[in-house]
Amino acid sequence: MAEIRVNPTRMELKKLQARYTTARRGHKLLKDKRDELMKRFLDVVREDKLLRERVEVSLGRVYKSFSVAGAVGSPKMLQEALICPKKEGSLDVTYKNLMSVTVPEFKMEIVGDNVAEGFNYGLAFTSGELDASLRELNSLLEDMIRMAELEKTAQLLAEEIEKTRRRVNALEYIMMPQYLAAIKTIKMKLDENDRGNTTRLMKVKDMMLKAQLEQKQYTDEEE
């Protein structure tokens, strides 16, 4: 691992220690964020899974009854009945902030005539199967919109979780050990300097004592 190169001074040490504290705090916060995101994400995915299972089964049924309707009448009849819808669906989109991820929320609005009944063709030339399959499709609408919303949310959350996880790991396994190593290096260097200083002082003291002693012996001899 690449180490941070620093001057072994007390100032650098203080700076590094402050950075380490910040990194540790950031790491804890991000870890909490990741855990909470994960919790929300799993809730969304579980709901989405159930919804998708239901929608896929119902859609399969709708397609089947559609092909029956096409067989009973004629494909042309089917097209004629559907090609000119009386109503128009539109979506109202609001945005929700989910753990600082912006996710869309959809609300369906249908404008047009005959909204409640849902049929936009004359009943004379079409078969009953068509009515039934359209009714089922209509009831599926809300689930389909909700499914789109959930899947989008899941995708956006997955991206955010991935990002957060990378940050957490970078702090935990790269940044923080690097700071710790640098702090340790500086501390050792400073301690080593201290010890060097002490031994030097002791040595100087010894030399001075020796000099004094020699001086004293010399004066004693002269007397």
């Binding site: 994960m38 994400f41 799993l42 995915v45 579980r46 989405d48 899974k49 998708r52 299972e53 929608v55 896929e56 859609l59 399969g60 397609y63 559609f66 092909s67 089917l78 097209q79 559907l82 090609i83 819808p85 109503k87 128009e88 669906g89 539109s90 979506l91 109202d92 989109v93 945005y95 912006t102 996710v103 869309p104 959809f106 369906m108 609005e109 249908i110 849902g118 049929f119 936009n120 399959s133 359209l134 499709l137 209509n138 609408l141 389909m144 919109i145 499914m147 789109a148 919303e149 899947e151 989008k152 899941a154 995708q155 956006l156 959350l157 997955a158 991206e159 979780i161 991935e162 996880r165």
Partner: protein
């Protein structure tokens, strides 16, 4: 106000006309791709449903729009029935987020 789009082959998407979706027929995957791009570019669509058999061929194109808040591109099974592609998408998202598949492991 946004529209809801649906892209797929004729038999799969015809019924959605009655729901007020804006229906786009595609004969093949490359046609579907062009439609998809133009729908996203127009910015009028909040949700675009893509029928499974095209979606699986347009995986890379759809992935481009994955991280945008809008539009939500959702895969639905077509008239041929579900091949489990939609579910596999959820599975991929889980693997991306968690690092391992913890939702679908039992099936």
């Amino acid at each position: 106000m946004y529209k809801i789009g649906i892209i797929g082959e004729r038999d799969s998407v015809l019924g959605f006309m009655a729901l007020g979706f804006s229906v786009h027929e595609a004969q093949n995957a490359s046609e579907a791709e062009n439609i998809l791009h133009s729908l996203v570019k127009s910015g009028e669509y909040a949700v675009i449903y893509v029928v499974e058999n095209y979606a699986s061929e347009l995986e890379d194109e759809i992935a481009k729009y994955k991280d945008l808040p809008l539009p939500a591109i959702t895969v639905i099974p077509g008239v041929m029935g579900s091949s489990g592609y939609g579910m596999a998408n959820i599975k991929t998202a889980v693997e991306r987020a968690v690092g391992a598949d913890i939702i679908f492991k039992d099936n």
